[in-house]
C-alpha cells in the first residue's frame, strides 16, 4: 500500500536508543571506569592516572605468606559466601514451600493472586524500615526477650538476638524471600496439573512427584530467584551494616569503607573482585538453565 509507505515509522534501533543510551552512559561506561581506576595509583588527596597493580597487591597483602591461616580479605569473602549460602538455603526452602502451596493447594486463581499479593506488599516498603522494625522485637528489652523472661525460660536478656550474625540472616530472609517466591510460583503456575495426576496414577509417592516432576519443571524459577538472592547478599553492605551493628565484615562493606576514606582505586579493585566472584556463582547457576529462553 503506497499510502502507508510514505507514513513515517521509526526504525527499531531508534526506538531502542533512549533505553540503550541510559545503559551505555550509566552502566557500561561506569563499569569500564571501575576496571580502569582499579589499576590506578592514589595518594591521600587524589587518584593518579598511572598504571599499577598496587590496589590488588595491597588487597591480598600477606595472603600467601600466612597460609594456611587466612588473611583479612579471604576471611571476609569466606564469611560473605557463608552468609550467602545460608540465606540462599533458607529463602529457597521457604520460597519453594510457599510457592508450592500457592500453586498446587490453592484452587481458585483469584485466591492465588490475592495470597501472592499479600507476600508482595511488604516489598513496597523501604528496606531500612523493615530492618529497624526488628528492633522492638529483638532488642535487649524487646518483645522476645521480655516474653522469654516472663515465661521463666531465661534470667537475663539474650544478647545475640540483635546486631549479630543471627539478626543479619533474619533480616535477609525477611527482606528477600519475596525474590524466591514470585519466580518459583511463576514457574509452577505454568506446570500442567495433568502431569501431577499422571504421576499419581503411575503410583508415584508425594515425594517422588515432587522430586521428579515438580522440581525439574520449577527449575527456571528456582534459578532466577537464586540469582537475585545471591547477587543481593554478595553485594550487600546496608543490611549487614544496620543489622550487624556495623560490626560484621562483608565484601560490600570493604568497598564502602574504602569509599568513605576516599580511596577510590582500592575500592574499585575490591569491586572488580566482588563482581568476578558474583559472576562466577551466577555462571555456575546459569549452567542449569537458559534464562533467555525462560522469559
Amino acid at each position: 500500500m503506497p499510502a502507508t509507505k510514505t507514513a513515517y515509522a521509526p526504525p527499531a534501533w531508534l526506538q531502542a536508543l533512549p533505553f540503550a543510551g541510559v545503559f551505555a552512559l550509566f552502566f557500561v561506561v561506569p563499569l569500564l571506569f571501575v576496571v580502569m581506576v582499579s589499576f590506578w595509583d592514589y595518594n591521600d588527596y587524589s587518584i593518579i592516572p598511572s598504571f599499577t597493580t598496587r590496589s590488588y597487591v595491597e588487597t591480598f597483602e600477606g595472603c600467601y605468606d600466612r597460609l594456611p591461616e587466612l588473611c583479612t580479605i579471604l576471611k571476609t569473602y569466606l564469611s560473605t559466601v557463608k552468609f550467602c549460602l545460608i540465606v540462599w538455603a533458607i529463602t529457597l526452602v521457604i520460597g519453594f514451600t510457599i510457592a508450592y502451596f500457592l500453586a498446587f493447594h490453592v484452587q481458585s486463581v483469584t485466591m492465588q493472586m490475592t495470597l501472592a499479593l499479600i507476600c508482595t506488599i511488604p516489598f513496597w516498603t523501604s528496606n531500612v524500615i523493615r530492618m529497624i522494625s526488628w528492633v522492638p522485637l529483638l532488642g535487649r528489652n524487646g518483645l522476645v526477650n521480655s516474653a522469654l523472661i516472663n515465661v521463666g525460660l531465661i534470667n537475663q536478656p539474650i544478647e545475640w538476638l540483635l546486631f549479630s550474625q543471627f539478626s543479619v540472616v533474619l533480616a535477609f530472609v525477611h527482606l528477600f524471600t519475596f525474590f524466591m517466591v514470585i519466580p518459583i510460583f511463576n514457574s509452577m503456575a505454568r506446570i500442567d496439573k495433568r502431569l501431577l495426576e499422571a504421576a499419581y496414577d503411575a503410583g508415584a509417592s508425594g515425594w517422588q512427584t515432587l522430586w521428579n516432576v515438580v522440581i525439574p519443571l520449577a527449575k527456571p524459577g528456582i534459578v532466577i530467584g537464586s540469582i537475585f538472592v545471591v547477587t543481593i547478599v554478595m553485594g550487600d553492605f546496608i543490611t549487614v551494616g544496620v543489622m550487624g551493628g556495623q560490626q560484621i565484615a562483608s565484601a560490600g562493606k570493604i568497598i564502602e569503607t574504602r569509599l568513605n576514606a576516599l580511596q577510590f582505586p582500592p575500592a574499585a579493585a575490591n569491586a572488580v573482585i566482588l563482581l568476578a566472584i558474583t559472576l562466577l556463582i551466577i555462571t555456575a547457576l546459569n549452567r542449569f538453565v537458559d534464562i533467555r529462553k525462560e522469559l
Binding site: A12, F27, V34, V135
Partner: protein, 296 residues
C-alpha cells in the same frame, strides 16, 4: 481427581500463615509504636498514645531536614516513573522487531540487575568525578572557576536509579507484548492508519493499564533505593539514605513515625496506580468491541 484436602494442605496453610505473620509482624510493631506517647521509648509496652512523634517530624524539630529529603525523593521517584514508562515502551516496541545489537542490549539490561548495586554506584561516582576533574582542568577559565560538580539528584542519581528501574520495565513490557494481539494492529493498518495513529489509538489504549504498572514499579524502586544512590547521588541525600543514617543515631520513636510516613506514601502511590488501572480496565470493557455480542 482425589477428593477432599490432603493433610499436607493444612500443614502448608499453617506454614503460609506463619510466613505472613513473619512478614507483617515486625512492621505492624513499628507502626503501632510510632503512635507512642511523648515519653514513650523504642520498645513495648506503649507509654500512652499520641501523634507527638509525627508532629515532631513535621515541625522538623527533631531530625534535621527530613522534609527536603522527602521532596527530593518524591521528585526523583516521579521522574524515574515517567522516564521508565516512556523508555520501556519504546524499547518494548523495538524488541518486537529485529535490530542490530538486540541481544547485546538484552544481556546488558539483565547484567544491570545482576551486577551488585554498590559496583554500579561506585562506577557512576568515578565517572562523574573524572568528568568533574576534566572540566576543571580543561574547560575555559570562566566555566572552570565557578564549576563544582555535575553530580546531583537529577544527573548521576537519576542515572543510577534508571539502571535499576528500566530492566524491570523492559521485562514487564516483554510480558505485555507477549500477550498483545497483533491482529489489532494489522486491522488498524488495513484501515489505513499511520504507524503513529496505530500506536496512539490501538496499542497505547490496550497496554495503558499494564504501563501504569511499569510506572508504579519505577516509582517504588526509586523511592526505596539505597545501594545505588549511596555513592552516586551527590551531596544531597534521598529519604532512604537519611533514614539509613538515622538508624544509628536516633533513639526515639520519631524514626518509627518516619517509617510509617514513608510506608504510607508507598501505599498511597500503589493505591492510586491500582485505582487508575481498574478504571482503565472498566473503560476498556465499556467502550471495547461488541463483536460477537449479538446483532447490530
Amino acid at each position: 481427581m482425589r477428593e477432599g484436602r490432603p493433610a499436607s494442605f493444612y500443614w502448608l496453610a499453617a506454614f503460609f500463615g506463619l510466613f505472613v505473620l513473619f512478614l507483617y509482624g515486625p512492621m505492624i510493631a513499628i507502626f503501632v509504636l510510632s503512635f507512642q506517647g511523648p515519653t514513650g521509648g523504642m520498645t513495648f509496652p506503649m507509654n500512652g498514645v499520641s501523634l507527638h512523634w509525627f508532629g515532631k517530624l513535621w515541625s522538623g524539630g527533631g531530625i534535621v531536614d527530613i522534609k527536603s529529603a522527602f521532596w527530593r525523593s518524591l521528585q526523583l521517584g516521579l521522574t524515574v516513573m515517567l522516564i521508565t514508562m516512556v523508555f520501556s515502551v519504546l524499547a518494548g516496541l523495538a524488541f518486537r522487531k529485529r535490530f542490530k545489537g538486540q541481544n547485546l542490549l538484552f544481556y546488558v539490561t539483565i547484567a544491570s540487575l545482576i551486577v551488585p548495586s554498590i559496583v554500579t554506584s561506585l562506577g557512576i561516582a568515578l565517572q562523574f568525578r573524572l568528568f568533574d576533574e576534566a572540566v576543571k582542568a580543561y574547560a575555559p577559565g570562566f566555566i572552570a572557576e565557578s564549576y563544582t560538580t555535575a553530580m546531583g539528584i537529577f544527573t548521576s542519581g537519576l542515572g543510577a536509579h534508571l539502571t535499576w528501574a528500566l530492566p524491570f520495565g523492559l521485562l514487564i513490557m516483554f510480558a505485555i507484548f507477549n500477550r498483545f494481539d497483533g491482529r489489532l494492529e494489522e486491522a488498524a493498518r488495513d484501515q489505513g492508519a499511520t504507524p503513529w495513529q496505530t500506536f496512539a489509538h490501538v496499542i497505547l489504549p490496550v497496554i495503558l493499564p499494564s504501563l501504569i504498572g511499569v510506572g508504579l514499579f519505577g516509582f517504588t524502586l526509586s523511592w526505596d533505593e539505597i545501594a545505588r544512590s549511596s555513592q552516586a547521588i551527590g551531596e544531597k541525600n534521598t529519604l532512604p539514605l537519611e533514614l539509613q543514617a538515622l538508624t544509628s543515631t536516633v533513639t526515639t520513636p520519631e524514626i518509627y513515625a518516619l517509617g510509617t510516613v514513608t510506608t504510607g506514601v508507598s501505599f498511597l502511590v500503589i493505591g492510586l496506580a491500582l485505582a487508575a488501572i481498574l478504571s482503565l480496565r472498566a473503560r476498556q470493557a465499556r467502550r471495547g468491541s461488541d463483536a460477537g455480542k449479538g446483532m447490530l
